[in-house]
Each structure stands twice: as structure tokens, then as C-alpha cells.
Symmetry: C2
Subunit: 132 residues, 2 copies
């Protein structure tokens, strides 16, 4: 079978919702909000999330246990992710910076480990929260 190009029913339902809310959202919040669409058990959510992460449609914000739609249609799907996180309002933005991603992709550690993926999370205060 060829690599699938179309999402399954549950995968599409979950992705549509994550893209709609347009901010990081937690698995059980997805679950609670999609009851009427037939998403009734945690596994329906987690299975869809797993797949969507794998194919790069969404990313997991590890420090928040939350999921967000990918904003970089052309990003190195799920292999090179960077986010900025406001510790006050919890706003999260995906960073798209070719110099940064180039730098990190080429980074070589002293132990000679071969990297194929990274995740970077910056924390601070967004503009709105800085002036408060």
C-alpha cells in the first residue's frame, strides 16, 4: 500500500478541530469537545494525535502536554520544531526561522551522536504581557 494521503474519519475530525481552535489544546479537551462527532474515548483522540504528529500536521508542545496545528506548511515535518511560549498568558507560536533551523540541523554534539530530530521551546513574556 502506498503512503496514505487521505486522513481517516477520526483523524480528520481531530485535525479539523485542532486547526479551528488555533492554539495549543489538550487531549482531554479535544475529547470533551468532540463527543457529538463520535469521539467518545481517550484512545480515539490519542490514536489520531499520534498519527497527526507523525505526518507533521500537528506538533506536541512537550512542556505543556498540548497539541497545536503546524503553521509551517513547508517545515521539516515533525523533525525540526521550535516554539515560543509566554509564561504569563500561555500563548504559543511556532517559530519559523531558516537560520535557526539550519543552525540546529547542522549542530554536531561532542559525542558524535547522529541527530534526526529536535524540539526547541523558548519561554518568556510575549509583547502584550511584557507591558503589563
Amino acid at each position: 500500500m502506498l503512503k496514505q494521503e487521505t486522513l481517516s474519519k477520526n483523524q480528520q475530525i481531530v485535525l479539523d478541530y485542532i486547526e479551528k481552535v488555533n492554539e495549543p489544546i489538550k487531549a482531554y479537551s479535544i475529547l470533551h469537545n468532540l463527543q457529538k462527532k463520535g469521539i467518545k474515548a481517550p484512545l480515539q483522540v490519542y490514536r489520531a494525535l499520534d498519527k497527526l504528529v507523525k505526518i507533521g500536521k500537528i506538533h506536541k508542545i512537550e512542556s505543556r502536554n498540548a497539541f497545536v496545528a503546524c503553521k509551517n506548511s513547508n517545515c521539516q515535518i515533525s523533525k525540526a520544531t521550535a516554539f515560543s511560549i509566554c509564561e504569563s498568558c500561555e500563548e504559543v507560536s511556532e517559530i519559523s526561522d531558516s537560520k535557526l533551523s539550519k543552525y540546529l540541523k547542522n549542530f554536531q554534539d561532542k559525542a558524535g551522536m547522529k541527530f534526526n530530530k529536535y524540539n526547541l521551546e523558548f519561554f518568556g513574556l510575549c509583547k502584550k504581557c511584557s507591558v503589563k
Copy 2:
């Protein structure tokens, strides 16, 4: 009161253990292994972990929900962390690279957000696992 310099009893017990095992360890594993030292409830562990993270003695590996002792006595305590993680054997090393940390500390995102902290996790195969 001045910033405390000595750890409390539970904090010291937990830190000693994390430093001894010398690899990422999970909260409930700590709990199970320190029963005889009087650590009997999750909160005793989590409170100590919180404090130890705050003062930079340990770091949390976010993608693994695990905690590891800091190897960089002179690192920007808990404000600038980078790790390499082998996806095969789960070996984790703390990266100490002044060029990398300088680059990231100075990184400026397009939204003008002011960062005061970051966490970077690289994934790949360690040398041992590469040759398998």
C-alpha cells in the same frame, strides 16, 4: 531571608538518589526506591523535584517526563538546557556547548518576544546504537 543554600531533608534525599542513578529517572520510580528513607507519598517527591528544578540541581526531560541531575555546575541554571536523547536506548546526555548556548540566548524571534529560558531536545541514535 537570604536565598537558601542548604537543602531540606527530603530535597537532599531525592537529589542524592538522582545523582546516584546518574540517568533520567521518573518521579514514581524515585518514590518506589526511597520508601525506606521515608519518602512515601508522591507529593514528597514532586515537591522536592520542583525545588531542585528551580535551583538548577536537576532538569526535567520534558519529552520523557523524567528528571536528571545537572552536569554543568556552571550552567545557566535551569534557564538554558539542551539534551541529546537516543531514541533506541533512551540514553540522555546534557549538552554543554558554549557556542550553542550563546546562539540560543541571543536568538530573537520575529514577534519581538523577550526570552528568559529555553529547552532544547535533540533526538537520534547514539554511537552504540548506530552500529547495531
